[in-house]
């Protein structure tokens, strides 16, 4: 496509050896791409580069962070009071639910003929804040201000208020890139809570919609069905809310139903996310991790996983 610049062209003599430089840089780029795609040879380089990018990310994020800070510090007493009341009410409600939860867990253990109730599947969690950085416009990814120094690892599940948010795609030292469940390259194994039907929910590149492309026309699914994680795939534990079905289209001429669902997590409205660590060996936890292969092709992305 591109001719190599021979030496000694009088018209272009001002630019020396561009053809050679082009060959060099083009080859370098291609080698980089190859190494980055195959295996994890560039893991350390990426780690270093994302550390170098962090100051710029901080700088870009700072105006909106400052604006938030100003708004927080000048919040009126009434507004704070109202929020405090709302939080207190929410807390009371959660407490009430938790009271029953203990009893239910014991009952469940009894039904399953276990000796003692299982501990909670979540071992530890860590809140993080989404940084205001634009990644790719047409993909659904965010940068969060927690990284490997806080123990974040690749393939870690990320929750938000309301439900499942995504998983860690890349962990830098102080920040990490999270791929949302609504990214077109992301798929999450789900289960219909009502019927137990298992399928896969795929992102659309739109914060409000996911599709369930692999359901036969006659499958048992209705509008308003809740989808929870099925625990298959080895990334997400079972039973976390993912989405609510908003549309079921059955065309008798088509083998598959057209099902659309709305994510339950406040994906584009909330700045706070939660990284979770699961108790290994717990029945609801994702299957024992096998290194970086913990992100198989179905759960999560094809990106960077072998």
């Amino acid at each position: 496509m591109v001719a190599f610049g021979g030496s000694g062209r009088p018209v272009h003599s001002r630019v020396a050896a561009t053809g050679l430089a082009f060959t060099f840089y083009a080859t370098l780029s291609i080698v980089l791409m190859f190494l980055d795609q195959r295996g994890n040879w560039l893991e350390y380089a990426r780690y270093g580069l994302s550390a170098a990018a962090y100051p710029v990310q901080l700088a870009v994020n700072s105006p909106s962070a400052a604006w938030h800070w100003v708004r927080e510090s000048f919040a009126t007493r009434e507004a704070l009071q109202a929020r405090n009341d709302a939080l207190r009410a929410e807390n009371r409600e959660l407490e009430m639910r938790a009271l029953r939860f203990e009893a239910l867990a014991a009952e469940n253990a009894q039904l399953r003929a276990l000796k003692a109730a299982l501990p909670e599947v979540v071992e530890k969690w860590l809140p993080g804040e989404i940084m205001n950085i634009e990644l790719s416009t047409l993909r659904q990814r965010v940068i969060v201000n927690r990284g490997a120094t806080s123990g974040i690892f690749k393939g870690q599940a990320v929750l938000a208020r309301g439900g499942l948010m995504g998983q860690v795609l890349r962990a830098g030292p102080w920040s990490s890139e999270v791929i949302l469940i609504t990214d077109p390259e992301h798929a999450v194994p789900v289960q219909v809570l009502r019927s137990g039907l298992r399928t896969i929910a795929v992102g659309q590149g739109n914060a409000g919609v996911m599709t369930l492309p692999y359901l036969p026309v006659n499958s048992d699914i209705k509008v308003d069905d809740q989808l929870v994680t099925s625990g298959l795939g080895g990334v997400f534990p079972a039973g976390y809310p993912v989405a609510r079905v908003i549309e079921v289209g059955r065309d008798p001429g088509q083998p598959l139903a057209l099902v659309r669902a709305q994510p339950l997590a406040a994906i584009d409205r909330d700045r706070e996310v939660t990284f979770v660590w699961f108790r290994p060996g717990h029945p609801a936890a994702p299957a024992p991790s096998t290194g970086s292969a913990a992100v198989p092709s179905l759960a999560g992305t094809a990106q960077d996983t072998q």
Partner: protein, 159 residues
């Protein structure tokens, strides 16, 4: 480099850095879709008006920065930028003497080529994103070209 006119390296680095920031500043989605590829425009400008200052190293570096910020395959934007910048440097004498309207057309073509390379690599590396919206930014980039030229030419003494 023993050139008669000193190369505008400082202006070049600064403008590239500012363009990078403009490229990653969050915008509402509809605006972000038509956001021109500022960094590519800046690299194009310098490739045409001061081809020796940045050479192909600047495009490579800027592309690598884009790869890191966009979370793309390392080398993807670098390759696209190097290709576009190479063509711009090759034909810089030709382009430089054209009226601004024709330059804008060239910028549009270069941006479209850039997006095409990125799109191809996206497809090959298994991250295909076949949204027609990704082809919008070369148009706004072409429209921005005269303004970008006007601004950037103030930072150095054009030859």
């Amino acid at each position: 480099m023993n050139t008669r006119v000193s190369e505008p390296r400082g202006a070049l680095m600064l403008s590239a850095f500012i363009a990078l920031i403009f490229q990653v500043v969050p915008l509402p989605t509809w605006l972000a879709i038509v956001r021109p590829a500022f960094l590519v425009i800046v690299v194009l400008y310098w490739s045409i008006s001061a081809p020796r200052a940045g050479g192909l190293f600047l495009p490579f570096l800027c592309g690598l920065a884009l790869d890191v910020f966009r979370g793309a395959v390392l080398g993807e934007h670098a390759l696209a930028l190097v290709i576009v910048a190479f063509l711009a440097i090759r034909f810089h004498l030709l382009i430089r003497n054209k009226p601004i309207f024709e330059q804008a057309l060239f910028a549009f073509a270069a941006l479209a080529l850039y997006e095409f390379v990125v799109w191809s690599i996206d497809g090959w590396s298994g991250h295909s994103l076949n949204s027609g919206l990704r082809w919008l930014h070369p148009v706004t980039g072409g429209l921005l070209w005269p303004i970008a030229c006007g601004l950037l030419s103030r930072t150095h003494r054009p030859r």
